[in-house]
């Protein structure tokens, strides 16, 4: 462009700005008549004038970054007291370190200038006190302080011995050390630590940057006591860029009491890093590192470097034991493990006595030196990675941003709700990016309780790299939205954005601009395009959006009823609000109201065309899920994760679905990633606990569940689940305690009611159990899922007491709910059929069992065929029974499948029972022994059947043993009430065995136990007739 043209363009531009919006187009056409290039230029300039950019930021923002570097150069050449500053050696959070000349003595020293905020009298006092304590340590592996002084402007500085050499972090950055050198340095550090620990002084910040290796190859520990003096730890340092938590011990990371063992842990980390060139616990996000410290076992040293000797491996292993009580208790132990004498404080080659220092008059001797580098996120050059990274390591590379609620400063109270709504819109627009992660509402909410000045530090401590904050302001044009993104590590702004609007609702549309600015600032590539329908919709229906955001908040707090009300209101205002439809349907499905959920999701699925891609996918996945098209749902959620790798919701759903389909490895892998994406989310720990629990990993499950309960102290579910974990381990009393706690928090909590009833029953409180279950099964206000569960458990309780009529009636009563929910339909039919069989009504029984088999998913589940087989056995329909047995075996898994046993043992059991009925006792014993052998210790029924066969064959001692086992056997699986019927029947069988053995007294005792159990049983049951006969047996005179 030449200048003449620019002035013309400029004039036209000014006129366009002055023109009313509706006249603009006209003006554009006339002024650029016949000059398409001019028109294009004008349009581009108009567009450019709308965007905010570099010129809208204060220049000071630019200056800060560019000038901060090298700022310290200006001290070089000046003097601090008698010290002439020659060059900068390093800079760290706690100050800058210079090489300086002590003009009085003509020697070189190192001077550390503490940051200005450490000049309060209290800080000085603490520094002096610590200095005195540390000064008593006179050790070649601990750096010494010559002097402490105060600069003209009141800043404290420390004067320390100057050793050439290099800090260990720089040495490691060039690659792993030789095994011998690593060992030597570790031992020297241990000696220094040993001396300090003897004097009761803990370093608290042992890391390579705090160890200097002198030109004489002598390791010297720097910064002794600094963490204590400043009261700041690596994570909470507010004075500068905080360091990495990589060297923190677990107890330090959790903020617990820290002792000598903590330093030894850090030494273990340093040794590991010296040997391998990499840290045992890594991640650029402090939260991820801490997670590793608390939960992970580092990769074996020998795997990374085979030539590492066993003693070094032992030393690292024992230093890195998570429990400080199990760790090395002293530096001496560490040295002993490495075959070193722990006593000598001196080591070969170190002329300790000739240690050159001269204390200036009145000097304090402090071991305080700052050689560390500013480089919290600068990892040393990593050694070649020997194997694939654990799942989820990619997460640490991605910036994490918290979108805080906007603050309404417009002076109009009715706009308050814009704050959370705008934040939600911005977060939604940011979330689909592959290049950043958005902190969950839970994390953001926790942050929003922080005082404003503390926001960034708190976010940083939570591992959040960036925060987006903003306000709604009054402006001459109406309103202005001001937003900015700050880096929490730098504690400074990285981008800001302002938008003016005449109407507040226009501000909602600006959410996309804010998100765009934030994405750019966080390094998302410009080519990553993201749909922006949400803000459009919100600005068209601001009131509906307000309710929607309210609903989301309630939903994430598990306040389902409030959430439901809010979503319903949103839909009353905007019936086409697809996301509100989706959320409502999804929530109803979770509440067990499947029919409503189905109708709602169908409506949502028909209205996805205006949704962003990610949301469309969620709606489709939820539709499949609610329709029980499980495989489709799994595929849909997998695709979401592929496109949007940081979506926690899709991952959680996938975990649940895969687990329900019997997958084990993949859900756990997903959870590992999830626990790093959303460690604050109690649901993650809940799922992890549940799955580990179902895999029998009870200890790990308890840990996860406890974490769940601690993150969600108000959650009844947490206690219920913990109760289940106790129950599985046979701790019934403890389990009952947890269930009661759950019911205290939420008296209507259905799961806990059922679970408590089960424990009551197992502990012999049958009446309480029955009462509780009956009330819940019949409570029309309770969730259908819980009612159904209660009905099944109640049916089992009743069956165990011979009350088969009542048992089938409760399931009949709940039939509409069971059908509507399509859960356990086949099971309900099968239980009812079995009860009819007990009641000797074979026709009804047959009809129900056939229906159960027909309703059962394909291939037909063994349990239904087995139930039908038992009926055929009772009716002596041998041909049909043979067919059933064949069918069971056809369904059997391949020979090498670990789950194969179920079909085999059911078939063997039925074959054995047939042989028994036909009087072929020997054959029966053979088959039933096989069934028991296949079963191990899971079900009583097989031992009971085997006992019957022994009895029939006259093998009475064997019959007695098998009968007792059936009675007393504690199943390995979670106690289930439907096995209790077999337990009662074991009493009856034992009575028969004792009778056959001539022990009439014992026979009567067992029979009475059975009669007591079946006191309210249906009339005329053959078992009861038999038991009554046996109960009246008197010992022969």
């Amino acid at each position: 462009m030449e200048s003449g043209r620019w002035s013309r363009v400029g004039e036209l531009l000014a006129r366009l700005w002055d023109a009313a919006p509706e006249e603009r187009e006209n003006l554009l056409s006339t002024s650029s008549d016949g000059d398409p290039e001019l028109r294009h230029q004008l349009e581009s300039l108009l567009a450019a004038s709308e965007t905010s950019g570099l010129l809208d930021r204060p220049v000071g923002d630019l200056a800060v970054d560019l000038l901060a570097e090298g700022a310290a150069d200006d001290l070089v050449g000046t003097s601090l007291g008698p010290f002439e500053i020659r060059r900068q050696l390093g800079a760290g959070g706690m100050g800058e370190v210079f090489e300086a000349l002590d003009t009085r003595l003509g020697r070189t020293v190192a001077v550390k200038l503490l940051p200005p905020w450490l000049r309060s009298p209290q800080a000085k006092e603490r520094l002096m006190r610590e200095a005195r304590a540390v000064s008593a340590l006179d050790h070649p592996n601990i750096c010494t302080l010559h002097d402490i002084g105060e600069s003209d402007d009141g800043r404290l500085y420390l004067v320390m011995g100057y050793y050439g050499g290099e800090t260990l972090d720089r040495i490691i950055a060039r690659g792993p050390l030789s095994v011998e050198q690593a060992r030597r340095i570790a031992c020297q550090i241990a000696r220094g630590l040993g001396r300090a620990h003897e004097a009761g002084i803990v370093h608290r910040d042992i890391k390579p940057a705090n160890v200097i290796l002198t030109e004489q190859d002598e390791a010297k520990i720097l910064d002794f006591g600094i963490a204590r003096v400043t009261g700041e730890s690596a994570l909470t340092a507010t004075g500068g860029r905080p360091g990495t938590p990589a060297y923190m011990s677990p107890e330090q990371a959790t903020g617990s009491e820290v002792g000598a063992q903590s330093d030894l842990w850090s030494l273990g980390v340093v040794l590991y890093e010296m040997l391998t060139g990499r840290r045992p616990f890594r991640g650029s996000d402090p939260q991820a590192v801490i997670h590793g410290i608390l939960n992970r076992t580092p990769t074996d040293l020998k795997e990374l470097r085979p030539e590492i000797t066993t003693d070094l491996e032992d030393a690292v292993d024992r230093a890195l034991i998570k429990d400080p009580k199990e760790r090395f208790s002293s530096a001496g132990e560490f040295l002993k493990t490495l075959g070193e004498d722990p006593l000598p404080t001196s080591h070969p080659g170190s002329g300790m006595r000739s240690w050159p220092w001269i204390a200036a008059a009145g000097a304090l001797l402090v071991i305080l030196w700052l050689g560390s580098q500013w480089s919290p996120s600068r990892e040393p050059t990593p050694a070649p990675k020997p194997r694939a990274e654990a799942a989820g390591d990619f997460i640490d590379e991605v910036p994490l941003i918290a979108v805080m609620p906007f603050v309404n400063r417009s002076g109009q109270e009715e706009l308050d709700w814009y704050g959370p709504s705008l934040a939600q819109l911005v977060a939604d627009a940011l979330a689909p990016s592959r290049h950043l992660r958005v902190a969950s509402p839970r994390r953001t909410q926790a942050l929003s309780k922080q005082p404003a000045g503390n926001l960034e530090a708190a976010a940083l401590a939570d591992g959040i790299g960036f925060v987006l904050t903003g306000e709604l302001l009054p402006s001459p044009e109406g309103f202005q939205l001001a937003a900015r993104v700050s880096s929490t590590q730098e504690q400074q702004q990285v981008v800001s954005h302002r938008t003016d609007a005449a109407e507040p609702r226009e501000l909602l549309a600006a959410a996309d601009e804010v998100a765009l600015a934030a994405r750019r600032a966080l390094g998302a590539p410009p080519e990553e395009s993201i749909d922006v329908f949400a803000a459009d919709f919100a600005s068209d229906h601001p009131e509906a959006y307000e309710f929607y955001v309210e609903g989301l908040r309630a939903y994430s707090d598990y306040r389902y009823q409030e959430a439901e009300a809010a979503f319903t209101q949103a839909l009353a205002i905007a019936p086409n609000f697809t996301m509100a439809l989706y959320r409502l349907a999804y929530m109803r499905a979770a509440m067990g109201r499947t029919e409503e959920a189905r109708a709602g999701i169908a409506l949502a699925a028909a209205k996805t065309q205006r949704l962003p891609d990610r949301d469309q996918r969620y709606v489709r996945a939820a539709a499949a899920y609610i329709d029980r098209r499980v495989e489709d749902a799994i595929t849909a959620y997998r695709e979401i994760i592929e496109h949007y790798p940081y979506e926690t919701e899709a991952r959680s759903q996938l975990v649940v679905l895969l687990h329900s389909q019997g997958h084990q490895e993949e859900p756990l892998e997903l959870l590992e990633t999830l626990s790093r994406l959303a460690p604050e989310d109690p649901a993650v720990w809940n799922m992890s606990g549940q799955i580990r629990f179902s895999l029998g990993q009870y200890q790990q499950a308890m840990l996860d569940l406890r974490r769940y309960a601690s993150l969600a102290p108000e959650s009844a579910n947490a206690h219920d689940t913990l109760g289940n974990a106790y129950r599985a381990q046979g701790e019934l009393a403890l389990a009952a305690g947890e269930y009661r706690q759950a019911l205290e928090l939420d008296p209507a909590f259905g799961s806990a009611q059922v679970d408590l009833a089960i424990v009551d029953f197992l502990q012999g409180r049958r009446g309480e159990a029955e009462g509780r279950l009956t009330a819940l099964a019949r409570d029309p206000k309770a969730s259908p899922r819980h009612r159904i569960r209660a009905a099944f458990e109640l049916a089992a309780v009743l069956r165990s007491a011979g009350r088969f009529t009542a048992s089938k009636e409760i399931l009949e009563e709940l039939e509409p709910e069971i059908r509507a929910e399509s859960v356990r339909e086949a099971w309900a039919l099968s239980v009812r059929g079995s009860s009819e069989m007990e009641l000797d009504r074979p026709t009804s029984a047959r009809r129900l069992l056939e229906r159960a088999v027909a309703r059962s998913p394909s291939p037909v589940a063994t349990r239904y065929l087995y139930a039908r087989g038992l009926l055929e056995l009772k009716e002596q329909r041998w041909a049909e029974l043979k067919h059933t047995i064949d069918e069971i075996q056809r369904g059997a898994l391949p020979a090498d499948d670990p789950n194969r046993g179920a079909e085999e043992k059911a078939a063997a059991d039925l074959r054995g029972l047939q042989a028994l009925a036909e009087g072929r006792a020997a054959a029966a014993i053979e088959d039933l022994e096989l069934a028991v052998a296949l079963d191990g210790y899971s079900y009583r029924i097989y031992r009971l059947d085997l006992a019957s066969a022994y009895l029939a064959a006259g093998h009475l001692p064997q019959a007695l043993a098998a009968g007792r086992q059936a009675l007393e056997q504690q199943p390995l699986a979670e106690p289930r009430l439907d096995f209790e019927l077999d337990r009662g029947r074991a009493q009856l069988l034992l009575a028969q065995v004792h009778e056959a053995m001539g022990d009439r007294e014992q026979a009567a005792l067992h029979a009475k136990a059975f009669v007591a159990l079946w006191a309210d049983a249906d009339a005329g049951l053959s078992d009861l007739v038999e038991a009554n006969r046996l109960a009246t047996l008197r010992s022969l005179p």
Binding site: A14, S49, L54, V59, G60, L67, S284, R378, E490, Q493
Partner: protein, 203 residues
Amino acid sequence: MKQRPKQEPGDGSPTRGEVTALLADLRRGRREAMDELLPLIYHDLRSLARRQLRGQRPGHTLNTTALAHEAFLKLADGGGEGWQNRTHFMAVAATAMRHILVDAARQRLAQKRGGGAFHVPLDEVQVRIDARALEVLDLDAALEKLTLLDPRQARVIELHFYGGMTFEEVAEVMEISTPTAKRDWRKARAFLHFTLARRSDAA
């Protein structure tokens, strides 16, 4: 850029008298006074900025206007009639600030090139500072371009953006009306944003 201050500070600190006299010259229209003032203000402003950055907790932005004012109080005679020199001083400071930033950006990128011999680990912060440096250089180049097209608009940008001067101050020192200053700013801003956007698209 037309004027380049010397990289090394002068032989001694300028005296207040010197600076005050140069400012008076400038007010009287002697353009060369600007060239003589610039290096003096440049060095003083830079060390003030650095001192402020050193003493601050990280995260504070740099208040460049306050810095320039501090430099003025230090370098010029702020009392009496000298106070009228303040606006002119600020105007020179604006140019100085532009130079300071451009030089820092160049230095930063040069260091990076020089440091290419050893592997520099990827660091978010470093990457962002590099991006800042490029932004500053891009803006400078665009501003150079605008100077050719419309020097007055370019000067308004310099004073308002780099110098943090209000439109009233800009108008006063450039001897134009405040609305003109605002209009110039708006046009120049559109031009620069347009140019910068095109540049980043091309990249």
